[in-house]
Amino acid sequence: MTEARRPFATSAVAAPLRPGWLRRATAGVRRQPAAWFLARRFAWSLVVLFVLATITFVLARIVPADPAAFLAGQNASQAAITSIRHEYGLDKPLDIQYINYMSGLLRGNLGISIRTRDPVASDMASYLPATLELLFASFFVYVTASLLLGITTAYHARGPFGVVVKLLTMAGTALPVFWIGAVLQLVFFYRLGWFPLGGRLGELATPPPQVTGFYTIDSILAGQWSTFVDAVAHLVLPSAAIVLSLLAVGMRQTQAAVMQELGRHYVRTARGKGMSEPRIALKHVLRNALNPILTVTGVQFGYMVSWVILVEVVFNWPGIGLYAYQSFQVFDYAPIIAVTLIATVVFLAVNLLTDIAYAVLDPRVRRG
């Protein structure tokens, strides 16, 4: 909770454990709590990434598999498969493969994908914008919907509106996200024909000139309004699947936090003074209830990154989720590790942003 999360105030506790040279080297930064906090978080993030890369590497290779067999194709000869193993260094001892991989990683080289035969970094550059666009769109809708529904149902928890919303969102959480996606496709694509089946744009459409990699933004920048509408229409169903599968948690957390705040005296006073209820709810209650909501939202973003893999498969969304899915199927090691690392980076970044947001939103945290 709020009191427990005082990110900028913890440095003093650990100080005596640090060696002298480290204390002296970091003395300047430590005088600025915010900078010191960020520096420590960054350093820990690197450690986490290193450990994770090692674990993922080991786990991926513990399972005996032969990715070269996939690449060689049906009826391929033993010679062809041996040649592919050699080409991708799969015939080298595991420790050499590990050293090669990690040294490449330190140089920013994520390796070569066996499946696509391209550098993983360039694959990521192709696939990541699609995933980020879907993630941000879903996150925006999720936050908006969970706040609105959470606040509204806090006022109507026992009314029919609250009950219906609760049931629907709980059902969304209880059902697998790929099933929700399939049902949305069945209803809104197949039955009603309102939204496209999948992909980022129509099958015959040409993407806008790449600036950000987000089709919605790039189409606006290029003035291609029909492409923009097409891109938004393609975003609707996959975003809806993600949001529906996560909404219950966010909404219920918001509802609980708001209900707790509604019982406080300042709300009663505000009402007593004649302040409008939307103003009380949005400007004051929500402000006080925001910290626990923020915590849950950060965690939910992590889930969202996981759900994206399944949703991208169902909606044929050409992002890193689909890329990861196809890589997992053939034990394409380098992309598997890279996707894991990127997901971790995103998760760490979101956690960091959440901590910073605490301080921005709550002066008590900011002032330690």
Binding site: V63, P64, A65, P67, A69, F70, A72, G73, Q74, N75, S77, Q78, I84, I114, R115, T116, R117, D123, S126, Y127, L148, I151, T152, Y155, Q185, L186, F189, Y190, L197, G198, G199, L204, S226, V229, A233, V236, H265, Y266, T269, A270, G272, K273, G274, S276, E277, P278, R279, K283, R287, V313, V314, N316, P318, G319, L322, Q326, Q329, V330, F331, P363
Partner: protein
């Protein structure tokens, strides 16, 4: 009682100015409050006109509590100030009293808005939802409008492909999705008709002669690559040499080639290591690239693999236009192609990568895709019942799936034990699984394959009595076995489950393990299981040795039953070297029988390949010498 107050916006706690703090007298009842939601300065300016302002302000600022009461007279003065014309004034009511709009109107001259706590929030939420809904409907309307205003190009074909190529280099491509591109962009020297795969026809080669190990091909004149370079014998030599040097993809089909010589601009000579009757047939899937492209785009000794991986320049019916990674490849019709397009052949082909089978089925059904491969059988049979679709079926698969019994591991190293499993297998269950679209195989080569002896071979059926006798003869008792199944195919899973339940009738336990293909095949290759499930199909229109060399000869990678029989290997070599058809068929029959008699493979089923095809697409036939090959130039779109 009336008093004034405000909410501090920054810290979200209440401070009340101008009132004295007292504990609430009874319960939660609050006094009526006149609200100011204006700035501190505004409020204090107002309050400065009220008596005893300073005293009240000082007291309250230090307390910061919620319950307030005010001095008599204070409220009336503040009310007077608030009711001055032009001032935004709102009136609150006690929480335990219903709202009295008439009173508000009486006090302020207008109806109260924005103060009914629940109704107003709901109204705003509904308004916001309505806003979202309107935006969404607008998108729907625009989206639908855009589709209506911009209908699919007259002859564009959107093909839902089960995967994305890893390369479009014809020397390396060996997977369905790769060949969908390479076979339509690069021409081979020879070809075949789908209904007569045994008859090899001219394509880039107009004719050929053979004498022993030497083949001489006459090449078509006036053919150009898509970059305008003329096609000559040098391109054939460069292509075949490059393919043999890289030794990947379908190079195994031409592994018999010893060397290639250019005899003239349009004459090329190919020498094989030993006589090989199937060379012309096997060249039907070898795409010819431009020698100048190899030279121009080579980096070091890579033979231009880097360039050919994502670029294409063939002499074929379609030109490669673009490859949007993770999304699609676009081909357009090659206007300068020398060959015959079907009337109304697609002008543009969008090869859309759709890995999920259910999504391919939904997209085909909803007309997002014009064509789709690897649609689950149930979906195909359901879709073709709808108006606007028809069923196309054809021979393609040799066995789907075949169950390989590891001859190097106990207990499947025992021939009687293997025979028991072959005899116990419930072949009829497979036919039921395929909804009747199935033929029970009698061996490795289907009857429709040129020179296959299957029709004259004895049928393989479930025979539990024979199975029990074989199990007794094995003297192994009832040992269990483990079977690895590639997880992507439901047909394979069913085959393994069928084996499990069939073997159970003999008291044998089959432990089925499902894993990705690359893991499953690794397990069987490393003798970690007695059983492996995989399908069989080949790319040669008439070379049975392509199947034997892949699945049965000693040391072959897909010889997952670990069959090792030098006599069989010798026989397979003889088949390729025998030019007399009758003698060759006799050899094939012997090889066929040897594999059947080994009891190393359970050929569970041979379903035809089924496609649900929209009625506006005609001319599609199943290619018997492919995995899921499609000749786009033979399709006609009538819309």
């Amino acid at each position: 009682m009336i008093c004034a107050g405000r909410i501090d916006r920054r810290f979200a706690y209440t401070s009340v100015l101008g009132c004295e703090l007292t504990p609430p007298p009874h319960g939660d009842a609050l006094p009526q409050v006149l609200l100011s939601d204006r700035s501190d300065a505004d409020l204090e300016r107002d309050l400065s006109r009220v008596n005893r302002l300073e005293t009240f302000t000082a007291r309250i600022a230090t307390a910061g509590a919620a319950h307030v009461s005010c001095e008599p007279g204070f409220s009336e003065e503040l009310m007077r100030i608030r009711s001055e014309p032009g001032r935004p004034t709102t009136i609150a009511r006690p929480l335990n009293q219903p709202h009295d709009n008439r009173r508000t109107k009486r006090m302020t001259g207008k109806r109260m808005t924005g103060l009914a706590p629940f109704g107003s929030l709901r109204t705003r939420a509904l308004a916001l939802a309505a806003g979202f809904g309107t935006a969404l409907l607008s998108i729907v309307a625009f989206s639908a409008g855009a589709q209506a205003a911009n209908p699919r190009a007259q002859r564009a074909l959107v093909f839902a492909d089960a995967g994305e190529p890893s390369t479009i280099d014809p020397a390396i491509a060996n997977v369905n999705q790769e060949q969908h591109v390479t076979w339509n962009v690069y021409d081979p020297l020879t070809t075949y008709a789908f209904n007569q795969p045994g008859v090899i026809r001219p394509w880039l080669a107009t004719g050929w002669t053979t004498k022993g190990t030497v083949w001489t091909f006459q090449l078509r004149k006036g053919v150009t690559f898509q970059d305008g370079q003329p096609f000559t014998a040098a391109d054939v030599k460069a292509s075949l040499d490059r393919m043999l040097k890289i030794n990947q993809g379908t190079a195994y089909l031409i592994s018999a080639i010893k060397n290639v010589s250019v005899l003239g601009p349009y004459t090329v000579q190919i020498t094989t290591k030993t006589p090989n009757v199937f060379l012309a047939a096997n060249l039907s899937h070898i795409g010819i690239v431009s020698a100048s492209d190899i030279e121009k785009h080579a980096k070091g000794d890579d033979l231009a693999q880097g360039w050919f991986q994502s670029h294409a320049d063939g002499t074929g019916p379609y030109k490669f236009v673009s490859w949007q990674k993770g999304n699609k490849i676009v081909l357009v019709r090659n206007a300068h192609w020398w060959g015959p397009f079907a009337p109304n052949a697609p002008d543009e082909v969008v090869d859309q990568f759709v890995p999920d089978g259910a999504t391919r089925a939904r997209g085909l059904e909803g007309h997002t895709y014009d064509f789709a491969d690897f649609v689950p059988v149930d979906d195909v049979l359901r879709i073709v019942k709808k108006p606007g679709f028809h069923l196309v079926s054809g021979n393609q698969l040799f066995t789907w799936p075949a169950i390989y019994l590891n001859m190097q591991m106990a207990p499947t190293d025992n021939a009687d034990f293997r025979k028991a499993l072959v005899d116990a297998f419930d072949y009829n269950a497979e036919t039921v699984f395929y909804k009747g679209y199935n033929t029970v195989p009698r061996g490795p080569l289907p009857s429709w394959f040129p020179g296959s002896p299957e029709s004259s071979s004895p049928p393989i059926t479930q025979n539990l009595t024979a199975a029990k006798q074989a199990l007794d003869a094995s003297k192994l008792g009832k040992p269990g076995i483990t079977c690895w199944v590639p997880s992507a195919y439901p047909e394979f899973a069913f085959g393994a489950t069928n084996l499990q339940s069939s073997a159970q009738q003999l008291g044998i336990t089959v432990n089925v393990r499902s894993a990705p293909f690359v893991q499953a095949i690794n397990a069987i290759k490393n003798n970690q299981a007695q059983c492996f499930v995989l399908g069989e199909a080949i790319l040669s229109p008439s070379d049975p040795t392509a199947l034997f060399a892949s699945h049965e000869t000693t040391g072959a990678y897909y010889n997952t039953e670990h069959y090792a029989n030098p006599a069989f290997d010798q026989l397979v070599s003889q088949i390729s070297e025998t030019f007399d058809p009758q003698q060759r068929e006799a050899l094939v029959k012997r090889a066929f029988a040897m594999v059947v008699d080994s009891h190393a493979i359970i050929w569970t089923a041979r379903p035809p390949t089924l496609y649900a095809v929209p009625n506006d697409i005609t001319g599609f036939e199943v290619d018997p010498a492919s995995y899921t090959g499609i000749r786009f130039w033979e399709l006609s779109i009538s819309r």
